[in-house]
Point group: C2
Chain length 205, copies 2
DNA sequence: AACACATGTTACGGGTCGGTAACATTGTCA
DNA sequence: TGACAATGTTACCGACCCGTAACATGTGTT
């Protein structure tokens, strides 16, 4: 019983979690390390003992978010073993929740948007995470029998990130409320005609 | 010849233009009033003589961007008089340019995203501008013979704003490069079946 | 008890930034 | 020329924030 009950995570984890939450709510520049340490039930000194700088803390947050995003695919496979179409549908449902609920781990985008043209070391992590996510989703669409999987993935990516942005500034009653509806419709359009409009347009030329 | 040649706009306009540009590039909190005044070829003092605060300057920027966005509809009507379908197609094309080129006046979203939960007075302006934009686009879709115009507008809104966000952090070779393609496909899907998938889903229940 | 170690507390330095004050400069009009 | 308004220049204040130093407080181990 050296560790009687892990009722409270160690300070490092609490700080990361608090930072992720506050970064998402107020932006990276919008929140101070003191407030983060305070929200984590700790203080600035222990924060700086674990993370050499605010940037290091940000990187740790992105790494954790990236790991969580990676676990999504295992959950989908476990929920619908071998059924790619059901997994894709479930993905849309979960994406809709990530949009309409604030606790989504889509903070990679927010972080990236705030680091534009800054040569921040976190850029590499974000790009890498997004690349693997894109590949996974493409494979899922392909397994679901969709011919133009890449185009569908791009469409879904635009939709979900547009929904996120819209939800934040236009509220829950804005266009983001129709995300699932629109996404399902787009998927259906891709499934109904594996020979897509692109092929049609190519034929016309 | 009191005013020989308006080769250079007055400081107020130059400051607003510089602020819009820098707000977009670095974020509202990411740029200082001194840098804005400098980029406008002016000083902080004249900036504060025209705008009582940085927030006032931001509001002036939003108002100007909102006016420019409003003029879009007149241009569309002038380019394709009476042809709603062509206007809608042109809208998609222009939206694609706004996404892939940085000078787009879609900065309302960026401003709103940075003012989340801050009770900023600019929130009202942004919401109002977005509301009228939504109404105009809905009317355009309806004139183009689309039954579920509201849903299509929501879909297009999600797509364009997702494309903007993606372009900023994933680069020009990311999903945003397919925006026009996806948007045209979605519009085509709405045109091909005025009785949409929503109606189908209602029938199933 | 004694020690090592992680954590908490307080205070401070250095920097940035929003905003103001006082003064100098320019340009226009009578 | 003289007056007046708009603009430019410099300096400064106060607030905020990142990061560090020094010290105090536990906590577990031997």
């Amino acid at each position: 019983m050296t560790i009687p009950a892990k009722s409270v995570p160690p300070p490092r984890e609490r700080i990361i979690d608090a930072a992720r939450d506050l970064f998402r709510k107020h932006g990276i520049r919008g929140i101070g390390v003191d407030a983060i340490a305070d929200a984590a039930g700790s203080n600035k000194m222990t924060l700086y003992r674990h993370f050499g700088s605010k940037d290091d803390l940000l990187i740790a947050c992105i790494e954790k978010a990236s790991l969580e995003a990676e676990s999504l695919w295992e959950e989908l496979e476990k929920a619908h073993p071998g059924d790619a179409a059901a997994q894709l549908q479930d993905w849309v449902r979960r994406a809709g929740e990530f949009v309409t609920v604030d606790h989504g781990n889509c903070e990679l985008l927010d972080a990236a948007a705030q680091l534009v043209e800054s040569n921040h070391p976190a850029h590499y992590l974000i790009k890498e995470s997004r690349r693997t996510h894109r590949l996974r989703l493409t494979q899922l669409c392909r397994n679901a029998g969709i011919a133009e999987a890449e185009l569908l993935v791009d469409a879904l990516t635009l939709l979900i990130e547009g929904a996120r942005v819209n939800w934040r500034c236009a509220g829950a009653d804005g266009p983001s409320s129709r995300f699932v509806e629109v996404a399902e419709m787009v998927i259906k359009a891709f499934m109904d005609r594996p020979v897509s409009c692109v092929a049609h347009r190519l034929e016309m030329q």
